[in-house]
């Protein structure tokens, strides 16, 4: 295989694997939520509903694509793509096993965080382009919320960076082969909690899903989307959550560290990412949604100072240790 072809093949494989996982993650969430709510969940399509995601995908592809008359067409049509792009791009830097990834950048964490917050452009385009008041309000909320929660998200993600002393994701994972950062005394747990909270908020998941807020804004920014465009937005959203789950597993849960031979590494990584995902899902299905002003207050008055303080604390610990303490 020629050298120049490798990145294309690698990203092709990663993209397809990610889409495959995302499709089944929806089933996992639905089954999990059904268990929480004492119901069965999808059951009819295939054994135990295993073919349900495929049926859903086929349904969405077959659906009529409705464009509102008054929509801003270029913006409206482009938005799902712009939204999906960063959500897929974040997987580029994630190493699924030592040396197994598309691009192991030396600024991996930075790249991840920067690209992941780009989704807001697609969100706002969707909200604005639909020319719908619910969508517009939702887009306004989106900008507020994503900006407010990206900072705590970044700060809590920087704690493992400080502990590992590198921005390269594979090195952060490598630094945890002995002790996972979530077990790092005090700092690790606090950072993990902050990370989960800000992930839930930055991914617009319930109880922070004020953009979607179907009891107020019907479906928020995607109220006017149908068929394949809706599917793209949905795919992007779940890919984003999956990406954040992988990041959480990588930053705090030791990525591929686990018993068994080396080829088990990626499986362990996937299992841990799913655990993070289920944690987020668990929160989603047990809380009521909070109000937009309360969300912002929580971020600016509590989470941001707390994570900042934690970051300072971590750097003190790290400096103290490298200078020969403990």
């Amino acid at each position: 295989m020629p050298e120049w072809l490798i990145p294309f093949v690698a990203s092709f494989i990663v993209l397809n694997v990610v889409i495959g996982i995302v499709t089944y993650v929806t089933l996992l969430e639905r089954k999990f939520a059904a268990r929480m709510q004492s119901r069965v969940g999808p059951y009819r399509v295939g054994p135990h509903g295993l073919l349900q995601p495929i049926a859903d995908a086929v349904k969405l592809m077959m659906k009529e694509d409705v464009v509102p008359t008054a929509a801003d067409r270029p913006v409206y049509n482009l938005a799902p793509v712009v939204f999906l792009l960063p959500c897929m791009l974040i997987f580029a830097t994630i190493p699924f096993a030592p040396g197994l990834g598309v691009a192991d950048l030396n600024i991996g964490v930075l790249f991840f965080l920067a690209v992941s917050s780009m989704e807001i452009v697609g969100l706002f385009m969707a909200g604005w382009g639909s020319n719908n008041k619910y969508a517009l309000l939702s887009a306004m909320r989106a900008v507020n919320q994503v900006i407010s929660y990206d900072l705590p998200f970044i700060f809590s993600a920087l704690v493992p960076v400080l502990l590992a002393g590198s921005l390269r994701l594979s090195e952060i994972a490598g630094a945890q082969q002995g002790l996972w950062f979530v077990f790092y005394p005090v700092i690790g747990q606090l950072a993990f909690v902050a990370f989960i909270v800000s992930t839930v908020a930055a991914e617009n998941r319930a109880p922070f899903d004020i953009l979607e807020a179907e009891s107020e804004l019907v479906a928020g920014f995607r109220v006017e989307y149908s068929g394949m465009k809706f599917a793209l937005i949905q795919l992007g959203e779940y890919a984003h959550i999956l990406g954040a789950s992988f990041l959480g597993a990588l930053l705090f849960l030791g990525a591929w560290a686990g018993p068994g031979p080396d080829w088990m590494g990626p499986i362990w990584f996937l299992v841990k990412a799913m655990l993070v995902f289920l944690l987020v899902t668990w929160v989603r299905w047990s809380f009521v949604r909070i109000r937009v002003d309360q969300i912002l207050a929580l971020s600016w008055k509590a989470l941001l100072p707390a994570t900042l303080l934690l970051l300072v604390l971590t750097s003190i610990v790290v400096v103290w240790r490298t200078n020969g303490g403990a």
Binding site: A33, M36, Q37, S38, R39, K133, Y134, L136, L137, M140, R141, A206, P207, D209, I210, E212, A213, E214, S215, E216, L217, V218, R284, W285, S286, F287, V288, R289, I290, R291, V292, D293, Q294
Partner: protein, 387 residues
């Protein structure tokens, strides 16, 4: 409805603020039926609300003038279809009061049992839908909703074995009730009560230990005592605003004086106070049903012979206003009889109608998200609002 279709553009008023007119309803996930709220927004804050109702109007009052006293009770249940027993109850009470018709003690107790079970079923639906308003159908609200529906199902099963219907019953008749308890019903009922009582405690813990729920409910949508009385809102809303007024205690009807029960009152008047009142009413209603089952007298279930024709019941000339404490408050029936088999005039005082009128008074100043929380805490049923 003379307010024209809401402007489809952003209006900039003279004060320099941008105002957005937004429709909530008639088709909206949290409209609880068909209700259209025309909101005027300044950013996220609501500055004005115009409520448009009437989508479900069937003119029950005209209908009642065309139906006999034997026919109408089963139609009455279609006003408030979530608590169908209540309106039947009010109608037959009014007819009995004008006609001075005695109701046997056993029938009175059976009426109480049905009415209180209905209150529990209605409050369960309220709790579920209110949490769904706040938590979303794709979030924690749906979890509570499905739990509540699970319990409501048990009560509907009880009604089904008692009456044969699950939503609209036709259980009350002038002079008594239509059916006696089937064999083993009391036993099943007691078991159901125990299950529900235990589950209520679980919901309370799940909700009240949850800071997000408290943040959404406390201090939101405060109704002052003065406003509550002025508007004539009743039931849990009135008691949530600090008025200890319960018709079952103030003007006992149908042997309510035989039962021991507290009247829960909260003074803060916000959504959380209304929630607390209703949670206390769950236990109160369960206890009343238990007492009624314990003390159920033997005897006939109706003071009138079986119906042979629809025009059999004739009520002498007279007027009355009979009211019962329904799940949503004072459900009243103002009845004018002219001596024939049909009423001359019948007026429904729908509890939801009066309660809903509070919205334009309390919503301005709140955020969009609070609109659905407040509306949910008012617990309107649009069949009763529009009648």
């Amino acid at each position: 409805m003379s307010v024209a279709a809401p402007a489809s553009r952003v209006e900039i008023d003279y004060a320099g603020g941008e105002r957005l007119t937004m429709n909530m309803g008639p088709q909206h996930p949290s409209a609880h039926g068909v209700f259209r709220a025309i909101l005027t927004l300044e950013g996220e804050t609501v500055v004005g609300l115009d409520a448009v109702i009437g989508y479900l109007h069937r003119c029950h009052e005209k209908l009642a003038e065309t139906l006999t006293y034997a026919q109408y009770p089963s139609i009455a249940s279609k006003t408030d279809y979530v608590a169908a027993m209540t309106s039947e109850f009010a109608y037959v009470l009014a007819a009995e009061r004008i006609g001075k018709i005695e109701v046997p003690r056993r029938a009175q107790y059976l009426r109480v049992i049905a009415a209180e079970l209905q209150r529990v079923a209605s409050h369960l639906l309220w709790l579920g839908t209110w949490c769904m308003d706040m938590g979303g159908a794709l979030g924690g609200g749906a979890t509570i909703f499905l739990y509540c529906i699970r319990e409501r199902e048990l009560i509907l099963d009880l009604f089904e074995s008692l009456v044969g219907a699950r939503l609209l019953y036709g259980f009350y008749q002038v002079g008594g009730v239509r059916y006696d308890l089937p064999a083993g019903w009391a036993q099943t009922c007691r078991q159901t009560l125990d299950v529900i009582e235990q589950r209520i405690g679980e919901y309370e813990r799940m909700l009240e230990d949850n800071p997000f729920f408290l943040a959404r409910a406390q201090g939101v949508g405060v109704i002052s005592r003065e406003l509550a009385e002025d508007l004539g809102i009743a039931g849990p809303l009135l008691r949530g605003s600090g008025v200890a007024y319960d018709l079952r205690r103030a003007e006992p009807y149908s042997s309510y004086e035989d039962f021991e029960f507290p009247v829960p009152v909260e003074s803060s008047g916000d959504c959380f106070a209304r929630y607390r009142v209703r949670m206390a009413e769950f236990r109160q209603a369960l206890s009343i049903v238990r007492q009624a089952l314990d003390g159920l007298p033997e005897g006939p279930i109706s003071s009138r012979p079986g119906l042979k024709s629809v025009a059999q019941i004739r009520i002498p000339k007279g007027e009355t206003y009979a009211r019962v404490e329904g799940a949503r408050g004072e459900v009243g029936c103002y009845l004018l009889a002219d001596g024939s088999a049909k009423p001359y005039r019948m007026k429904w005082r729908g509890a939801s109608f009066s309660n809903l009128a509070v919205l334009p008074h309390i919503i301005p100043g709140h955020k969009v998200a609070d609109v659905v929380a407040i509306m949910g805490s008012v617990d309107p049923v649009f069949g009763e609002v529009d009648r």
